[in-house]
Each structure stands twice: as C-alpha cells, then as structure tokens.
Assembly symmetry: D2
Homo-oligomer: 335 residues x 4
C-alpha cells in the first residue's frame, strides 16, 4: 500500500487527486498539508469529502511528511515547490511536482519565464512526467515534473506530427480553451461567476508561461527547435481543455494517412483515443483520457485535442506517474 | 432632460442602470461616483461601456453631485447610503436608494436586522418604491427606498392574496432561487466560478435580511401582521430570481378564480404579466417585467414569480420610480 | 464476478451506471441492449466510453440477456420495464428497475399516476430499493424497484422526522431543483440549451408523478397517511437535485436536537452525511452521497437535501442495491 | 414610422430583432409570419413578449406582407428566403435577408456551398450588409444580404490588415467560438443541454459554409484572392462569438502601430471599439458592438474579435441596415 502525502491540499488539483485516490486499490492518503493559513479539517475545505476522508490539513513540514509517506505530491505554485522537493528527496521519498519548477531543462528558460533561479541540483534529475513520451524514464525517476495542463493537450496533439518531421517547425499555432478551474481556487474578479460565466475571452496572447514548456518538449520530440504561437482562452465551464492545433505540413498527406499515423503512434497507450470526429471536452471530463482528432485542411494539419485540465492535465497524470514509479498497474485508480 | 448621478457606480446594479439609461429618451447620466478605491474610467471598470459612456467614476462628493444632477441613485451597501442621502436631499435633489437604509419603517426593525441605527429623520419621509403598491406616494416623494430584489418578487407574488384576506397570515413560505449577480461584484469563494457553477445551494435559511422587509410590506397590505418563512438559494446563472410562494388558504378558491383575482389586481400595470404556465426567469431577464403564475394545490395557493434581480429587482424598478418622480412616461427607457 | 446487463443503454442513467461499473472490483458489463432504433456501438452513442468499453448496444432480448448476465438493470421508461422484468425473473435473474413500474404498492395508485395497469404478479414481490429504509429486504429480493430521483432526496430528508411523529403529516412541502439530465436524453424545446440555460423554472406544480411515490413511502415510515405538496424546478446545470423540505412541527424541538436526531437516524449509513451548513449539489455530484442539513425556523423544520440525480438518484443507488443483492461490499464501485 | 414585417418569426434572430424594435423610436412591427407549423400567438412562442407585443405569427404570404409593411426581414434558412424576396421586391418593399441566399457573388460559389441554384436576378442587385464596408451602397439598396455571424466577426477583425496588404493572403486562420443560439432553435442532440453544457467542441473543421463568405469578402477588401482556414467551436453559453484571427505579416509592424491602424480604420464607426486588452464576449452581449484587440506575436498579427452572434451577427446589424435604408439615425434602436 503506497502511502501518499499531498502538500498544497487546499487547491483544485489536490482535490482531484484525492477523488482519484479514494478509488485506488493500492494507495492511501496518509498526510495532507498546506500553508498555515489554508489548513483545517479537510471536510471544511472541501465538503465533498465529508464522511469520506477524515483527515486534517496541517502546516507543511517535510520531516513529518517523510515519516508518514512513500511519495509526496506537491500541488503548489511555482517557487513554492522547490522549497519542499529537496528535503523530501533527501529523506528518501519520491516526489511528484505539479508546478513548473522542474519542467524546463533549457538553461535560463525557467528564470526567464518565472523570474526566479531554478533548483539546479534537483532539476538535473527530474523527469518530465508525460508517460506517452517518457514512460521508461519515469519508472526509474525519483522526482517527476508533472506537465502543465495546456502542454499536455498540445504536446500529445502535435508529437506524432513533429516526430515524423511533417510539420514546419516554425509554423505551429495552438489555440486553447480552458475551463475556469485552471485558474485556481483563489477568488478574483476575472473568475467571479457573473464576470466569466456566459463569456469567452482570450488572454495572455503569445505570452503565457506554458508556451516555453510546449516549445521545449516539441523541440525534443522534433529534434530541431520549434516555435509555437500559443493563445489560451477562458471558457465558461468548470473543467476541460480543448486545443485546436494548426501545423503547416512540409509534404502532402491525406486525412486518412494522418489518422493512421496517430493511431500507430499511440497504439497501446491506455489513455489516448484517436477519433474521426472532433471530440468534446465533456467526453473526457473526470477521466485521465485525451481524445485526439487529427485532420488535414489545405496544406495544414489541424488536430483537436481534449483533456480534463485537472485530471490528465494534473492529478490523473500525476497518479499515472505514481503508478509507474511504484510498479502498480498504470491505470490503477484511473478507471 | 433629467440629469442623473449614480453613487456606487462600480457595482452590478449601477451597471444595469447605466445600460437602461443609455436608451432613455429624457434622462442622461451626468455624474458617476464611488468610494475612492473603486474609481477610474468607466470603460475600465465596465468594458461594455467603452465607446458608449465617456465618463470617469470619481470619489463621491455630495456637493459636486448636487450641482450636476437632478436625481441621484445610491447604489451602495446599507449604512453607506445614509451618509449621502441627507446632504443630497438638503441640496434639493431627489434620491433613489438601492440599499435597505430607508426600507424598514417599523421602529427597531432596521437596527435589529442591520446592526446600526437608522437615519430617522429621512426615514420618516421615505417612500417604499414599489409602484404597484405605492404609485401615488412615489410621485410626490423626494426619497425613494428602492425595494430589495427578493422582496420585489415575493411581495408582488403574494399581495393580491393577502390583501383579500385569503391567506393564513402565519403560514406563508417563500422559496427563492437567485442568480449570482445578486451577491454583488466583490470576489469571494462562494461566488468563485468553479465553486458555484453547476450547483444549487440554500443559504441563510430563515435568517436572510430580506425577510423582515417582506414581512413588513405584506403586513401593510394584509392590514394584519404576517409571518413568512423565507429560504433563498444560489442558482448557477448570472441573473434572475424565481420565487415559489406557498400560502395556506383560509377558504376554498379554484385555480381559475385565483388567476382571475391576480389579473384584476394587476390590470393596467405596465410590468406585471399574469400567466397560466409557470414562468422561466429567462422570460424576464434584461427587462423590468415580473411574470406571475398563481395556482391552487390542495388547500394552498402556490405562486411562481420571476424577475430579473438587477432590473425589476433593482435598477429597472429604480428607473420606473424616477419616471414617476419626474413625470416621464412610467415605461420610458424600460422597453 | 457478477455479470451485468443493461436494457435501455442509450440513456443518461445507463451511462452513469457504466461509468461506475468500470471501477467496480467484482462486476463487469456483459450485455447492453435497447430499443432497435437506439442501438449501435457504445462508443458512438457515448464517446466517453471510446477505448474503455468495447461493446455494442443490441436490440433487447430477454433470453439472450438471461444467458449472459446474473443481473439486469432496466433503464427504461415506465410501462417498458414491465415487458422485460417478468421474463428475466422467470429465467432466474435478478432485476433492478429504474422505472416507476414496481414502486407504488397502494392498489390503484400506479394506474392513476401512469395510466396503465401494473404488473401485479411481480409488483407483489418487488422491494423498494432505498437501502437506508429497506436494507434487509433488499438483500433477499429478486426484483428491486429503484427509487425515483426526487423521492430519494425527499424521503431521506424527511424520514427521521416523520418516523418520530414530529411532523404534522398533512403539512409538508418539498421544493426541489433538478439539473437537466433528469429530463432524459431526448431533445426537446424545454431542454434545448438556449431555452433552459441561465434560467430557473417551476414545472408540474402539484402534479408531478413522483409525488405519490414520496407520499406512499413517507406514509410507510410515519405509519399514518401523509400529504405532501411537491414542486419541482428545472435548474441550469447538468446534474444534481437540491430539495428544501418544510414540515410543520407538532412539538418544539431545537435545531441542535433535530441535528442530533438525524445523526442518530443515519449513524453508520455509508452514503448519508448530516451537516451543519446547507449543502451544495456540487458537493455530491458524481457520488452516491446524500448531504442533509436539518434545522428549525419558527414552528417548522427545514431540511435541505442534495444528491446527484443520476447517481444516488438512479445508477449509484442501483449499484448499491446490486451490491446488497450479491453480497458485495455495499460501497464497492461507489468510492 | 417604418412598418416592419418579419418572416421566420419563430427563430432566435427574429426574437432578437423584436427585442430591439420594441425600443426603436421610428419603427414598429406590423406583421409576423412563418411556416404554417410554426405559427401561433407570439406570446406562446416567446413568452418574453407576453404583454409587450400583441401579435400572432401567421402563415407567410408575400402579398399580405406587402400591404402591411415597408420593409420585410427574412429570418429564414437558405433557399427559403429566395422564395419570398422576389415577390416582396416586386411589390415595392425593401428586403433584408438573414440567410446566405444573397451573400455570395462569385459565380458558382453559392451552388457549391449550398447545393442549390441562386436567385440570379435579385442576387445581382443585392448589397452585402456590412455597414463598415458598404455603407453608401446599403443606403441605396433595396435588397440587403445581411452577413453571417462568423463572417461579421472575422471580416471586421481582418479587413484593416488585408486592405493595407500587410497579411499574407494565403496564411490566415480564424478560430471561432460561438454560443449555442447560433445553432438555431430546433432541438437536436448536439444542442441538448446535458450534451453541450460544460463542454467545448470543434466542428465542421475546414468545411463550414461561412468560410467561402469570409474568403469572398476579404478578397474584395484585399483586391487579391485570399485563403482562410476557418474552424468554428461550440461554446457552452447562449450568445456571443469570440474569433481569434491569425495572419502572417508580410512586413514588420509593431503592436502599437497595428492598434493605431485599426483605430484609424474604424474612426467614427458607431459600433466598433478597438481595445488594448483581449475582449470578452460578455462585454458585447445584447449589443450591436464589435470589440477588437489587434496585436503582434512573432511574425503574425493576432486579432481577437467579439460580437453577439444574434445582434451584430444578425438582428442588430440588420436593424443598422434598415436605419441606413430608411434614413433613420444609424444607431436608432441600438442603444
């Protein structure tokens, strides 16, 4: 039985992880922690767990966590994660980090995007936790950089294409629409119900911090540097990301052939479904699945990709990584 | 041309008032004010007015308002309104107050509900601004206590019944469902989109401050004291209130007769529609209308009442009152 | 491994059942059927099951079902269920029916509400599948009448009160708000998105078919006949029911005592949580839980009750019943 | 007083037109018609007009319309409009058509997209009703082809850029998100509330019928042929379109210069607002405004454009055209 701790237990990604862990046959939650001002009985913070998880969220303490857990999930904002990862790793635990702190390997990229020096020592050993790309490395890792929600949808949508050298590396556009839970649990005007309900809005056009993450990972897959224009939008729904990805093709390929390419690329993947019709986010909400629909229009590939931003985009993928780290069935707790 | 000022211009009720005033043939906005920290260009506070209203919201100052306006709407929280009403009235203006400060006439009731002494001097002259009950008094008033949103829906739903003595005065239940804009524009966890979206929740069961307002007004209509059990609910929509009102009948009456009673009671009213089918809030959103569907089940009358909480429940009714105060067509700016 | 069949596999309750069965440790879906015009690959009917359930929905045939299954869930409209229940029972299977066909025991009541003669023979042996009331009988049953969604929320909210004789039996009001999935999957104007989105509306005031079911069951609990005024409302959300229940108290009782009464009444129940604050439907969506908040206002008890209409209100409760029927852990597949 | 008739009065665009006409100072509705099966009292078809418009929708008859009206709006699907336009024009009326029947001038394009021969005779005299491009021609026209909703948002977003020759004509992508009212009022599974609520989905990727309309109009503005990749998405909201438009730039231009270009291009336009921040659809819902935010990322212009699909995307623009046709103030009834 894998003993699980969560630091940052008051946020939405943590709540989704707890939802999933309740049904996991070989793991149980043994410790919940957060910043002191966010602590209290879990059932007060999240009434959906009343009668189901009888734990308090206590102020985060690496030593206490180390004593109670085999693995700790850091559901924290960037720069906060790096204060806990080192001590937990030193204590012999495995760590799965939801923040961006261990995702960007290119020297200087993290500091440029997040305005803070990275934790170089541990960054060197971190593995980017996208099982479809790095399953073997994940199994042997001790520190997992769990991918961002937008990058998960975009990378899985584009990887087969750039791996084969079919896409012009500097002519890729990712137009994404995300549910509001992606903006976190702290109330602000933008996400106040009467402001964002019944409304669509672009934001951070060309300047979102997930852009360098997408660029770095697609570059690794392509083995050449790529450029991506990324435009996220806020959509009036709780959960889900739809990303429509546009890539100029370097050679003619039919819609049927591109679908075949994707089916082969993801053959055997437990959570990737390649479909003939554009998927709806509703088809994957609450699950760890990504649905992809690749097609060709004129000289461009158009791939629509949907995930649940909190599950495959955060907690579900993290659990998939935990399963790989501990030798559980990769899908345990995810069906 | 009636010159209009608004204090509290950064809130939703004020925004709805501005929306309506843009189409008013005989009034124009001449001054917008609010607390200092809520000031700035209107188009920054409410981008929907970009290119339409080129005014700044400035720190509230009664003297400046008095010089620029014929009437001032106070779109402020309770106790804030009473600091402005007096000076504006003294300067000869007419005042329409959206808060509860001048609604409760029964001695002690305001202080009990709101924890603050009322402004006795002006309270004595205030008229409760429900035109369907007090049209003549409104025309002659200088200070209007604009009704609360829940009371508007509930009082109009029950007035014909209690006026005729048909309802047992101590056996009235009002079960109301309100859109989230009713909770105001200040972000908080309860109204954070991922918390209240896709959810229904009762709140303030039997303890909401609109209950004494409903009780006082229905008592005046009934000419005996009444008791009301009021339970509001938060509904996942921007605007609209549906109130299902239950009243035990003191004598047998058919559904047809009760419908006839309501049609007679509201004959000629420009904004009240009596219908045979339960109305949807969507039928009145954006308008100053109330739709009522009275019926009888067993020994009880059941009346479903819908309004837009920001329009008939606040800004639209306020404008209706302004029209009465200044001799405009009562429906001006409201079609 | 319990082999499960579903007739009526193209509807929402069936889909929720499949979602739950995917995580059940001791049951698997072996047959899916529906009316001929509703058949096809499951992944076409419900894309959320693409890659997860590789079955076709075939025309319903009792004999084929009997050969492949140990239990059949009838996710069918009333009168359709009774054509399948008999043959399946005769073939030795257990049957859990989602329709109203086996819920009403009072002679004449079914025919009055549904305009059709009941299946008297099997009705006599059917057990009303509310485990909190009839757990022991359910364990021994072969035919379960799975409760309606509104009745589940209302009966659990009121049972402790009427069992103790605290509520005046003829002075009970249930005001319910349901998500749109409760209206089924057949498109119609009322549930067309731009009609019901952002809107609240009462319907079937005093005439909904779930009223006799609530009345009959509460009467059995109370051991006297009761009367209930039931008013359902359509709320703009996918799932969830909130029922605010009003009952006149026959004797004084404090809010604290009523809470204590409810905690005792549901002590040990795996899916009932008694809370001090009014619950939100969001706290239970996707789960088999009911959250109850009982309180007292004036001379009335007010109980707010929330469930997921598709889970505790249909598929989850059905699975709880299946677990009882087959000796599985009652919560299997429900965490 | 302009006498207005509407054929196709049972649909959403017609309802929005009626909403606007109620506040128009110089026009009134004199006749409402539709297909025989869609007729009846307007207040039954659209309860929001109960007590406000006391007219019946009657079976469409060109002769009767001609006698009662000065202008007729055809709120009909394509191919239906062309059966009414000719007779109404012959009778001396002016006609504003919401369908695609008179929008496409390029020979063969209408037939290719809509599978039906166009009405060549009247097509020759029709004017594309986008006032920002064709104001003078509209004033003199008798038959207006009111633009599609997606084309309105896309053309206004891209016209300044292609007019100046700044955009590579074959490298334009329009990624649009529309509220569900854009799909019409006929219930179907895709727009059944529990299917499309809380969900985002691409559809008709590269094959939507509005694509040739965008291409033709942008080509006219550019004076060279252009190519556009258009991908619409269904968003879970009633109204509003957000289009994010991507165009590769043929020469370097700063974000400030592109904003200046747009401000000059739309100087004096009553309904176009150029903004520095990405607009939300909520900022324009219910109004005839388009908000545009142009910027530059890498070598591409990115323009976010929002409209209300039923107002500027249909009924509001049609009313703006009517005002131009009849010499009313262009903004009459639109504030």
């Amino acid at each position: 039985m894998t003993r699980v701790g969560i630091i940052g237990a008051s946020g939405y990604a943590a709540a989704d992880l707890m939802r999933l862990l309740l049904a996991h046959p070989a793991a149980r939650i043994t410790a919940l922690a957060d910043l002191p001002e966010k602590c209290g009985a879990l059932a007060k913070l999240f009434p959906q767990f009343a009668g189901r998880i009888d734990l308090a969220v206590v102020p985060a303490d690496a030593k206490a966590m180390a004593a109670a857990c085999d693995v700790v999930f850091l559901a924290l904002p960037h720069t906060a994660s790096m204060t806990y990862a080192g001590p937990l790793l030193d204590a012999g635990l495995k760590v799965i980090d939801f923040s961006a702190d261990y995702r960007l390997k290119t020297p200087g990229l993290y500091e440029k995007a997040y305005g803070h020096k990275p934790d170089e020592a541990n960054l060197a050993n971190a593995v980017y936790g996208l099982p479809e790309l790095y399953r073997d490395a994940i199994k042997k890792a001790r520190l997992i950089a769990n991918p961002g929600c937008y990058p998960t949808a975009a990378i899985l949508a584009l990887a087969p294409l750039v791996r084969e050298g079919l896409a012009a590396p500097s002519d890729i556009i990712v137009d994404s629409k995300s549910g509001v839970s992606g903006a976190g649990r702290t109330p602000k005007l933008l996400t106040h119900f009467p402001e964002c309900n019944e409304s669509m809005q672009a934001y951070a056009i060309g300047s979102h911090r997930h852009q360098p993450e997408i660029v770095e990972q697609l570059g690794l897959v392509a083995r050449v540097s790529v450029d991506v224009l990324f435009v996220p939008h806020l959509a009036p729904m709780d959960r889900g990301i739809e990303s429509t990805c546009y890539a100029r093709l370097l050679q003619g390929i039919s819609a049927a052939d591109i679908a075949e390419l994707y089916r082969k690329a993801y053959y055997g993947e437990p959570f990737v479904v390649v479909r003939d019709e554009p998927p709806a986010t509703k088809h994957v909400v609450g699950t760890n699945y990504v649905h992809l629909c690749p097609t060709v229009v004129g000289g461009r590939a158009v791939v629509s990709s949907v995930i649940d931003n909190l599950t495959k985009g955060a907690a579900g993928q993290a659990l998939q990584n935990m399963n790989l780290l501990f030798g559980h069935d990769e899908t345990a707790g995810l069906e």
